[in-house]
């Protein structure tokens, strides 16, 4: 046992004590801020690889943005990505950031079904469906449960059987080949149940939008409870997003 003790001592405490507070390092791209500076808007919109930039006023749709930052390199006076990772919301419209706004992205409280907080506030079990996910989205969702982010302490956990869960988390642009399996899995989850879209690919198709290999008709059939943007979504974005959906958060 002696070697294990040494290893354990070195391992120490790994968890982030306050999951709502850490700062992410480096040039991490979270919520963008768009200034009111006048620029060639057509050129700005044109350079976006996924058509996430709108004109008059200039907007960035985080549901389409793959966080490449090309707009901020070409027009640094216009677009700046902050490291604010709390960008998940339950309203598709709130993912669209407009020029002149530096407001945080919040959930629309009026849209949260009452049973979500009463039933899932202290225990939320989720079934993940990778439907064309590139394995970064899946990697980050796995990381949410690792000793660093440790979302298990909030009662949030991924489980194997949809029968034992309270909702699904979809990653990937939803391929034709996974369309039937996605529906079958959702049907197997007992009601009431959640649908969470994790990652830009799931929200809009991302760089794969428009591919004839996709079938996104599932999303037309049900309301989505949470959009978690990112390419892939950062674990802090996911954990904080889910917490603000199922619990009343302070501040």
């Amino acid at each position: 046992m002696i070697p294990e003790l040494g290893i354990l001592r070195r391992h120490g405490k790994q968890y982030i004590p306050d999951i709502t507070a850490p700062k992410v390092p480096g040039p991490f791209k979270g919520r963008p801020e768009i200034s009111t500076a006048a620029v060639d808007e057509a050129a700005l919109a044109d350079l976006c690889p996924t058509g996430a930039i709108g004109k008059k006023p200039v907007t960035i749709d985080l549901g389409k943005c793959v966080m490449c930052g090309a707009c901020s390199f070409a027009f640094p006076e216009k677009i700046k990505f902050t490291s604010d990772y709390k960008i998940a919301t339950n309203s598709r419209d709130r993912l669209i950031v407009s020029e002149g706004s530096s407001d945080p992205i919040m959930l629309d409280e009026s849209k949260i079904r009452s049973e979500i907080r009463s039933l899932f506030g202290r225990s939320l079990k989720l079934r993940e469906i990778s439907a064309g996910g590139g394995n970064a989205d899946e990697g980050e969702l796995n990381a949410c449960g690792n000793p660093n982010f440790d979302m298990g302490r909030f009662g949030i956990e991924f489980l194997a059987s949809p029968r034992h869960t309270d909702g699904i988390v979809i990653t990937g642009p939803i391929t034709k080949n996974m369309a039937a399996a996605t529906q079958i899995c959702y049907d197997a989850v007992p009601s009431p149940k959640l649908i969470i879209l994790a990652g830009t690919d799931a929200i809009s198709g991302g760089i794969f939008a428009g591919s004839p290999a996709l079938d996104r008709s599932f999303l037309g059939r049900y309301p989505v409870d949470l959009y978690v943007p990112g390419n892939p979504p950062h674990p802090l974005t996911f954990v904080n997003g889910v917490l603000s959906l199922v619990r009343k958060m302070k501040g």
Binding site: H11, P27, F81, N142, N146
Partner: protein, 506 residues
């Protein structure tokens, strides 16, 4: 009679007219001669041009760093029949299956002419993914176990069908395609350079750096851009960081499968500072955004270099005591030795690459045999084990982790001594790609050989783009490793390979 084929090197470009187009019998003869001589196939694919179907094969010679190219062509028509080359060289089976699925070519005598990924533009739309023709054995004694496409964990989808005699697996058939997003056709329909670069980062996002490096190198060779040594060093550092992070993740995952919580936690949490470092560098934990054609938005700097040296110390100091303990534990050895064994002969037969080759005595590593980026001037040593079992795949990761740490340290110091300014990425409108040409780009990603190929038309536009992830070869190794093994050994075996679903499905 000696073989006639065009010869280029890794990241080489050649006018299409210089690649010999031979009759199919001659194609078979030359390919047979080259492959019997030890060359392995890094790509073999077809594309349609007008009413013709053109085929090109790329065979790598690992002893002299050359890549042999040869073509044949046929009028495009339904029911086109060609003799299967897979009969002589089994490693071609997956390439012939893919050509058959995409274009309806009937490779006569092919041992299992089954669909590969049910691509959206497959020739026969009546074949459906939910109706795959699995092998069956008629027997009252045997049973089948079907798993997937959705698995227990948070992982990508695939279907595994086990033919079992009691607890023993007689055969595992792996059916993929669930992840098919139409990547190769998107390379043509999304023409922007940035779109294509991001697409390359998304082929298999756990290999973002590997696949995007293959892409930008291919484009640079077609555009005649020399990235320069400094940029190459930075790209090489990113590629080795990806290897370190993924190897740590896999060392953690296999230990979850073995219920050894301590090793799983130690290796798993050690991965966090590595990918957080990549985020400190480029804003993304998977290295997305780093590789761009002709330059970088995130040039390396002295502060990053110092942090990287610190990180490598941390990785070494943390991983080594854990690895020493793990590989000395009798319970770990019992669980991993001789489990999921694939022999050297099988490995050569199926054309396995990367770790799936090096764990069974086949020294196949593009960094050594067809060096690219900094591996040309700063050679790396590659490790080969012979056991071919779960233990070997774990030990290989441990050894490669150490080698990468040493290599990153050396290369970082070289960068500190020699670096020059790195330019911003090339402007798309100034890029002129070589017309009517063929280019091939090989990169040793953490799983193995990544291969990107492009064919250009008369104005230099890309008319065909071909991606090969190492998993295209290696899924067969996982299938073979399960034979005569208990079905309960599947999870650790699967984790010990950690192959790519989306890289295969494209």
């Amino acid at each position: 009679m000696t073989a006639v084929s065009a010869v280029i090197r890794n990241q080489g470009v050649i006018p299409l007219t210089r690649i010999p187009v031979v009759s199919y019998p001659e194609f078979i003869r030359v390919v047979d001669e080259l492959m019997t001589g030890g060359l392995h196939c890094v790509n073999y694919f077809a594309w349609a041009e007008g009413d013709m179907l053109k085929f090109i094969i790329c065979l790598a010679n690992d002893s002299d760093g050359t890549i042999h190219l040869l073509m044949h062509k046929s009028p495009k028509r339904t029911g086109l029949q060609l003799d299967a080359l897979s009969l002589q060289h089994y490693q071609l089976h997956i390439f012939e299956r893919e050509i058959s699925e995409n274009f309806g070519v009937d490779f006569t005598g092919h041992p299992w002419p089954k669909p590969v990924r049910y691509a959206w533009n497959r020739a026969d739309q009546s074949k459906l993914i939910n109706n795959y023709p699995f092998y069956k054995i008629d027997s009252d004694e045997l049973h089948e176990v079907g798993v997937g496409p959705i698995h227990a964990g948070v992982i990508e989808p695939g279907h595994f069908r086990f033919l079992c005699n009691g607890e023993t697996v007689l055969h595992l058939e792996i059916q993929l395609g669930w992840q098919h997003r139409g990547v190769e056709s998107l390379f043509l329909t999304k023409p922007g350079l940035l779109q294509r670069t991001i697409l390359s980062e998304s082929i298999a996002s756990d290999t973002s750096v590997g696949h995007s490096l293959a892409f930008v190198s291919l484009l640079e060779s077609l555009a005649g851009i020399n990235p320069g040594e400094t940029l190459e060093m930075e790209r090489t550092l990113a590629l080795e960081l990806e290897r370190i992070a993924m190897h740590l993740g896999d060392l953690s995952n296999v230990n979850i499968g073995m219920a050894y919580q301590l090793a799983s936690a130690v290796f798993g949490t050690l991965r966090t500072p590595v990918i957080n470092y990549t985020q400190t560098w480029c804003g993304n934990r998977f290295g997305k955004g780093l590789n761009r054609v002709g330059g970088s938005h995130y040039p390396f700097n002295d502060e990053l270099a110092a942090k990287l040296l610190d990180l490598m110390n941390k990785v070494e100091e943390t991983a080594k005591p854990m690895a020493d303990r793990l590989f000395g534990l009798p319970s770990f050895l019992m669980r991993s030795e001789s489990i999921g064994r694939v022999t050297e002969a099988q490995t050569r037969l199926i054309g396995a690459v990367g770790m799936a080759a090096r764990n069974a005595g086949v020294a196949r590593d593009i960094r050594v045999t067809h060096p690219f980026a900094s591996y040309r001037n700063h050679p790396i040593e590659s490790q080969t084990l012979t056991q071919g079992d779960v233990w070997a795949r774990m030990m290989l990761r441990n050894l490669e982790l150490n080698d990468s740490v040493y290599y990153v340290r050396d290369l970082t110091r070289t960068w500190m001594d020699t670096h020059e300014p790195v330019s911003v990425p090339a402007e798309e409108k100034k890029l002129q790609l070589a017309a009517d040409s063929f280019a091939v780009s090989l990169v040793e990603g953490w799983r193995g050989e990544v291969c990107h190929c492009a064919v250009t038309g008369s104005n230099g536009a890309i008319v065909h783009y071909k991606v090969k992830d190492p998993s295209l070869h290696n899924w067969m190794a996982l299938a073979l490793s399960l034979r005569n093994l208990e079905i309960s050994d599947f999870p650790i075996n699967n984790k010990s390979y950690n192959l790519s679903y989306c890289g295969f499905d494209l």
